[in-house]
């Protein structure tokens, strides 16, 4: 049995919508079978107005036990540090965040906005948005680099835009069933069980990556080829389980012919979507990808590429994902 208070700051609610897609456990299972108590949620909570405010005040003062404080969306500090661009229950939301984070055993940031600032923090960041404990890759964010919750943990980051339902439900179940000790976090405070692999791990196009055969014609079904060489796929550089734990039980971006945008990494959206950076691999001298897979060295990568291309079988140059 664990109690969760879930609030939203500069949010779109995409992580909530993703969460509602959960299966095994689904949202109802979580509550009925795993005994999760949803204290309040902006999309699901029954209470409105003063009734809801009483809940927040009781949690903030410690009068009501709150095991897990979940925050979705950025912490908005604008204008000028006042936080008035995000008012909630008669106060700036950021003021609620300070008090509630101090009372919870565990604080969880769900989605890129709460983890690193996300889309609202794109230049020029009109709302002065930031993440709970990071601003992009820099540790700090709203609560500061040294913040720890009552259970002695930093903010647990479950990034993504949105986060996958399993990343959310399985961490909540682990917390709720006392398996906090099984969760190991990487240096960006992401649970390693999800974020040590790459988007590329399990991608159906990885054989085309292996033989350096590029998709040449974007959107024509991408019936063949890898999206890394021309279309800006960040699969080899992005930590996610998207090709291990499928989306909506069906697919993933790269399986559907769409490049990975690297949304679980703090720099998302990459290059700030400057002109010419979208759906387009950034290259040196028009030929060599500027970024190669995490951990690779440029020169050995080029040597491996040349050899791989020579070794490429005929089928790797033909359509594979056919009707």
């Amino acid at each position: 049995m664990a109690s969760v208070l879930w609030l939203q700051g500069g949010a779109c609610s995409g992580n909530t919508m993703s969460f509602l897609n959960a299966d095994e456990p689904n949202v109802v299972d979580l509550i009925v079978d795993f005994g999760l108590e949803v204290i309040w949620h902006p999309s699901l909570g029954m209470e409105l107005g003063n009734q809801a405010q009483k809940i927040f005040k009781d949690c903030a003062s410690g009068a009501r036990k709150m095991d897990i404080f979940v925050f979705e969306g950025s912490v908005i500090e604008g204008p000028d540090g006042s936080g008035r661009m995000d008012m909630f229950a008669d106060r700036p939301m950021k003021d609620w965040v300070v008090e509630l984070a101090a009372q919870a055993d565990v604080v969880v940031a769900i989605g890129d906005c709460a983890c690193w600032g996300g889309i609202p923090a794109m230049e020029p960041n009109p709302s002065s948005s930031t993440g709970l404990q990071f601003h992009k890759r820099a540790k700090g964010g709203f609560l500061g680099p040294n913040f720890t919750s009552k259970a002695g943990l930093p903010v647990i980051n479950i990034p993504g835009c949105p986060a996958h339902p399993d990343w959310i439900t399985q961490i909540i179940v682990a917390l709720a069933t006392g398996r906090l000790g099984d969760i190991t976090l990487d240096d960006l405070h992401r649970p390693e069980t999800f974020f040590k692999t790459f988007t590329q791990t399990g991608c159906t196009r990885v054989q085309f990556y292996e033989y350096k055969q590029s998709t040449m014609s974007f959107g024509e079904g991408t019936r063949t080829g890898c999206l890394f060489y021309e279309f800006g796929c960040r699969g080899p550089m992005t930590h996610s389980p998207c090709n291990r734990i499928l989306w909506n039980r069906q697919s993933s971006k790269t399986r559907a012919g769409q490049p990975c945008y690297g949304c679980t990494e703090p720099e998302f959206p990459h290059f700030d979507l400057a002109p010419g950076t979208l759906f387009k691999t950034q290259k040196v001298a028009g030929v060599i990808p500027k970024e190669t897979g995490t951990g690779t060295k440029k020169l050995s990568y080029l040597a491996a590429s040349a050899a791989a291309k020579l070794a490429a079988p005929d089928w790797s140059k033909e359509d594979m994902f056919v009707v």
Binding site: I76, R84, M122, P126, S127, A256, D272, L278
Partner: protein, 392 residues
């Protein structure tokens, strides 16, 4: 005369950040103000970025309807760049968008809306216990089934677009992926299953065709009583319960509706243009106001920030729009009260309802080609008109 001011902050379950202020005199609401409480500034963020940036950024306006922002962003680029759309791409875009819309029906109805029906203030109704059994949050029988099954239609979105929410698979000139045989057959099976195991079995209690045969409110009332299956479906029960607790007697909107229409006939929109849009629509748009129907013309739309937390007080066409936010504390002294702006059509200055029910009266004309389309129309005799959130 007794007068009371009520400030509801927050008004939850609107997929947005909303406060509501009402003045109640002698038991009647005499004024109501909806105040959007949060600002991120998408119009400002998109400036200077890659023209296609909207495909990534705009879905993040909203999590439940992000796909509709992708859909419109893609068509905006198609229009600006004069692309040619292959037929299949138009069909895939239509299907994906329809699946997002279908998902939101049970999700919104049970998780966000119907739990209000178990408010203790309705306990005097003979149907109250049944309402609690079906709609109570988290434990209601219809709630549980409907919320869990709402994930099914967007499995089809993921088959074509990789994932839902927040795919960017619609690009200028079409879509990124092309279906294979199993994609198509699996999609059909998922939607058939959804129809058989929730939509027709639990929600309607009849076939979609039978429901669509209802053309008037009187038809709907007769439909409720027609047989036990319809009488006791969630929709049949909802209609009976709403009438019993008086939801048909208050909260009526202004009676004017606007819809821009959606879904395109692939043969009529190969080259998307502004001028050609209305004629190519399968789901018609339009304006229903003061008892008459009018064509929707984007040139007549104006955005008015006089009462919003932005500089400016002239109605502007969105192409000329300005987004200069002001500190709410300062802005309130100028009589501004919300981050949301007001949109109207210029020629008549009507206030219109752009919320979900507007699609039905505003678009009630034959589609571009007469074809069978799957659509549920929910005539919600809903609560107050302040239920519409910032994003809808």
């Amino acid at each position: 005369m007794t007068s009371m001011d009520l400030h509801v902050s927050p008004l939850g379950r609107v997929e947005g950040d909303l406060d509501v202020r009402v003045t109640i005199e002698d038991g009647v609401v005499t004024s109501a103000w909806t105040e959007a409480a949060m600002f991120r500034g998408f119009e400002i963020i998109l400036r200077g970025k890659d023209p296609q940036a909207g495909l990534i950024v705009c879905p993040r306006i909203c999590g439940i309807c992000g796909g509709s922002h992708l859909y419109k962003s893609a068509y905006a680029l198609d229009t600006a760049w004069k692309t040619t759309m292959p037929s299949n791409a138009t069909l895939v875009r239509n299907i994906a968008q329809a699946c997002e819309t279908i998902q939101s029906i049970p999700r919104y109805f049970y998780a966000l809306f119907a739990i209000d029906l178990v408010n203790k203030n309705y306990a005097k109704s003979k149907l109250y216990d049944e309402a609690v059994r079906r709609f109570a949050p988290y434990v209601g029988t219809s709630y549980q089934k409907g919320v869990v099954l709402s994930q099914k239609p967007v499995e089809v979105y993921a088959i074509f677009g990789g994932q839902w929410p927040h795919s960017s698979f619609m690009v200028p000139g079409g879509v990124m992926g092309a279906a294979t045989l199993s994609d198509v057959t699996r999609s059909i099976a998922i939607l058939e299953n959804f129809k058989d195991n929730w939509l027709e079995s639990d929600f309607l209690g009849c076939s979609i065709d039978r429901w669509l045969a209802n053309k008037t409110w009187e038809d709907v009332l007769a439909w409720v009583d027609e047989n036990e299956s319809q009488y006791n479906s969630d929709l049949g029960f909802f209609i009976r319960y709403s009438l019993d607790i008086g939801l048909d007697k208050y909260g009526k909107g202004v009676g004017n509706y606007i819809s821009t229409g959606t879904y395109f006939d692939p043969s009529l929109y190969r080259n998307p243009t502004i001028e050609g849009r209305n004629a190519a629509l399968i789901g018609r748009g339009g304006i229903y106001a003061e008892g008459n129907w009018y064509e929707f013309d984007q040139a007549n739309v104006r955005e008015d920030v006089t009462h919003s937390f932005y500089e400016g007080s002239r109605p502007l066409h969105p192409f000329e729009g300005e987004t200069i936010p002001i500190d709410p504390e300062k802005a309130k002294k100028q009589g501004k009260y919300s981050w949301a702006s007001r949109r109207a059509t210029r020629s008549r200055g009507w206030v219109t309802c752009r919320w979900r029910p507007a699609r039905w009266p505003a678009g009630w004309r034959p589609p571009a080609r007469t074809r069978h389309r799957t659509r549920t129309t929910i005539r919600c005799s809903s609560t107050s008109s302040t239920r519409s959130g910032r994003r809808c």
